[in-house]
Symmetry: C2
Subunit: 392 residues, 2 copies
C-alpha cells in the first residue's frame, strides 16, 4: 500500500490522482492533501478521503474548513495553512509518494521538503523543475529519491529510457502539438486574439498553459525540465511538431534506434505510471490501435515561435535565466490575456527580461524565490516601459 | 571480445553481419562460417576473416574450397560440409554468439546444437522458430540461453519489451508494410502476375520472402515466431498495416501505454543490437527525425489476405500445423513463381494442406524435419490434384 500526499488536490492533476487512488484501493491510500483556495472542494475531499492532514492557502480558509469538518463530526483531520502547511502535508511520516501539482513556484518549498524527507515524487509542477531543477535534482541524488515525471512528454521519455542505459541515449525528441497557430503565416501573429489563443486543438487546460502551448513557450519549459530530469545538455533535447499528440515523445539511442511512447491523452495514465513505478498495473485507459490512421511530424519553426529559441538560450545559461523565462512568461501572458500587449509581445517581453538578467545560480529555494520575484518585477518594468513608449 | 559464428555467411544477413563485425573490430571477431553453395564468396570470406572452421553445402564444394585455400597458403581454416558441418560451425568452443541465418529449415539442426552448447543466438531464420520454436525455446530455457531476434519486427518488440516486465504486456502489434497489393480490390487478386508480386515497395529481399510479403504470409510466420519468442498466445499478437515501415513494431502494456521502435530500414541495426545486447553501441545508422513527415496505419484485411487468417489458425494449433503453414507456403510460392497456380492459389493450397494436417507436436528436430517433409509432399499432392482437376 502506497500512502499518497497530493500538493494541489483540487486542481486537475489532483483530481485525476484521486480518481486513480479510488480505482486502486488495494494499492493506494490518501494520507494528506494541500488544497489551496477552493474550500468546497477541499471539504468534499476531506469527507471522502479522511486525510490525516489537509492544508489551505490561508489561515482564514483553514479555520473555515476546520469549522465545517467539526460540524460534520470529522475530528481526525488536522487542518493547516500556507506554505508551511504544504510542507507539513508533504512530510507526513507515513507518506511514501508526493504528487507535486501546485501550479507555479508556490509548490516549490513543499516539493523540496518532500525530497529532503526521502519521499518519491510524482512531478506535475513543471515550473518547479524549471526554476529549481538544479537544487531539486541535487537533493534527489543525495537522498536517493526518484523524481517521476507526470506530464505526458517526460513520462513518455521516462518509459522509453527503460529500453537502454542513460549513457546510451543520443538525444530525446519532445513532441509538440504545434498549438492553434501551427500553420498561421508569420505576418498574422501580431493580430492573434485572446479568444483564438485560448482555443487549443488537443488538450483542455488552464489559461496560462493554453497560451504557453500557442507560443510553444510551454515546450520551452519542457526542454529545461528534460535537461534537469534526465541530466542531458539542451543540445540533446529536440522538438518535433506532431499535431495529433498521439506519440508523447521519443528517445533516440546511440545505435540509431528510437523508442516512442503512444497512449490516450489522459493525465490519469502518467499518474498511474508514476504511482505504480517500477510496476505497471492494468487499466482501462486503452489506446485503440485499430483506429490509428495518420500521424504527422514536422520540424518546429523558430521564426514564428521565438519562445522556443528563447527557451534554448535560457536552458544553456540555466540558473537565473531559467527562472526568468518562466516568471517573465507568466507576467507577459497575463498582460496578453488583459489585452495590454499583442501575442508577439509575449516573446518580446521575455527576450528583454532574459537580456537584462544577470547570470547566477541560486543555491537555495529562498534564492530561487528571490530571483523569481526580481524577474517578475523586471517583466513588469519592461511592460510599463512598453506602454510608456506607446503613449509617446 | 565476442566470437561470432555465422550460419548463412554468404546471404544477405550474413554479409550484413560481417559488415558490422568489420565496423567494430574491438568488439567482435569471426570464429566460424557456414557458407552454403557460393564457393567464390566463401573463398573471399575465408581470405578476409580467416575463420577457424568453414562449412560448405556438400563434400565436393568443401574439397574445392579446401584446395583453393591451400593454394593461397591458408591452412589454419578447417573445411567441413553438410548439416554436420553447420553443426560444427555453430559449436566451435570459443564461439559466444551464433547468427542463425540459413534460410528455411536447413539451419535448424545447427541452431538447435548452438542452443544446446549454450551459445547466445541471433535469430534471423524465421522458419526455425516457426517449425521448431517449441523445441528451441524449451532448450533455450533449460540452458539459460538468450534467443535474440534479428528480423526488424521482433527486434523492435524485444526493445520495446524492456520498458516493462513480461507479465505486464497486454499484447504486441507487428507492423506490416501491406505489400504491393495493399490497396488492390479483391477481384483483381486472381490476376496478379509474378512480376507484380516480386516488386516490394520497401525492402529488397529474396524471391520467396517477397511473395510472402505480398500475401502477408510472411507476417503470419512472424505471428507464430512472436508467440514462441515472447511466450504469448496468438490472440495477443496483432497486426497493423503501416506502409512506411518506419515503426518496426509496438508493445502494448496493461496500463494502456504503447512503446514503438523506429529506425532506418537497414538489417545492420537489429544485427548490431543483438550482437551488442544488453549494451547499445554507437552507430552511424541514424534515422532522420527532422525529415519524418507522415505515418499511416490501418487494420489488415483478412478477406483479401487470407494467409494471415491461416497463420492465426496454425498458431493456435501449433506443432505440425505451424510446420505445415511454412512448408506448404514454400511449395505453393514456388508453383506461383513457375506460373503453375495464380496468386490466390497460394492461400488455397496452404488452406488445404492445413486441413489435411493431423494435430501433433514434435519432440525432436528429427520429427520436425519429418513433419516438414510430409507437409511438402501433401502440398505437392494438392497442387497435382489441382492441375488434374483443371485438365478435366
Amino acid at each position: 500500500m502506497k500512502h499518497v500526499a497530493i500538493l494541489g488536490s483540487t486542481g486537475s492533476i489532483g483530481q485525476s490522482t484521486l480518481n486513480i487512488v479510488e480505482s486502486y484501493p488495494e494499492r493506494f491510500a490518501v494520507a494528506s492533501l494541500a488544497a489551496g483556495r477552493n474550500i468546497d472542494a477541499a471539504f468534499d475531499q476531506c469527507i471522502r478521503w479522511r486525510p490525516r492532514v489537509v492544508s489551505m492557502a490561508s489561515e482564514e480558509l483553514a479555520a473555515a474548513l476546520a469549522r465545517r469538518l467539526r460540524d460534520k463530526g470529522v475530528t481526525a483531520t488536522e487542518v493547516v495553512w500556507g506554505s508551511e502547511g504544504a510542507v507539513r502535508v508533504a512530510t507526513v511520516p507515513e507518506v511514501d509518494f508526493v504528487v507535486s501539482a501546485i501550479v507555479g513556484v508556490a509548490g516549490l518549498e513543499a516539493t523540496y521538503a518532500a525530497v529532503r524527507a526521502g519521499k518519491t515524487i510524482g512531478l506535475a509542477n513543471k515550473e518547479a523543475m524549471v526554476a529549481a531543477g538544479e537544487i531539486l535534482t541535487a537533493a534527489a541524488r543525495e537522498k536517493n529519491v526518484a523524481l517521476l515525471p507526470i506530464d505526458s512528454e517526460h513520462n513518455a521519455i521516462h518509459q522509453c529510457m527503460r529500453a537502454g542505459a542513460r549513457r546510451e541515449v543520443r538525444q530525446i525528441w519532445l513532441t509538440a502539438s504545434g498549438g492553434p497557430f501551427r500553420t498561421l503565416p508569420a505576418p498574422e501573429f501580431r493580430n492573434i486574439t485572446v479568444e483564438q489563443a485560448l482555443h487549443h486543438p488537443t488538450w483542455v487546460m488552464g489559461r496560462r498553459i493554453t497560451i504557453d502551448s500557442a507560443t510553444l513557450l510551454n515546450k520551452g519549459l519542457e526542454i529545461i525540465e528534460a535537461c534537469r530530469l534526465f541530466d542531458l545538455p539542451p543540445s540533446a533535447i529536440k522538438v518535433t511538431v506532431h499535431p495529433q499528440s498521439t506519440v508523447h515523445s521519443l528517445v533516440e539511442y546511440v545505435d540509431g534506434s528510437l523508442l516512442a511512447q503512444i497512449s490516450v491523452t489522459d493525465m490519469r495514465l502518467p499518474i498511474l505510471y508514476a504511482l505504480s513505478y517500477p510496476e505497471r498495473v492494468p487499466s482501462d485507459l486503452r489506446f485503440d490501435m485499430a483506429s490509428l490512421a495518420d500521424l504527422h511530424f514536422e520540424p518546429p519553426d523558430l521564426e514564428r515561435f521565438p519562445c522556443l529559441r528563447l527557451a534554448y538560450e535560457a536552458a544553456e545559461k540555466g540558473g537565473a535565466h531559467a527562472i526568468a523565462l518562466n516568471a517573465a512568461d507568466e507576467i507577459a501572458v497575463q498582460a496578453f490575456l488583459e489585452r495590454v500587449i499583442p501575442f508577439t509581445g509575449i516573446p518580446d517581453t521575455i527576450g528583454q527580461v532574459l537580456q537584462a538578467t544577470r547570470e547566477t545560480h541560486p543555491a537555495t529555494i529562498k534564492e530561487v524565490l528571490a530571483l523569481d520575484g526580481q524577474a517578475r518585477e523586471l517583466a513588469r518594468e519592461v511592460l510599463a516601459g512598453r506602454e510608456a513608449s506607446q503613449r509617446c
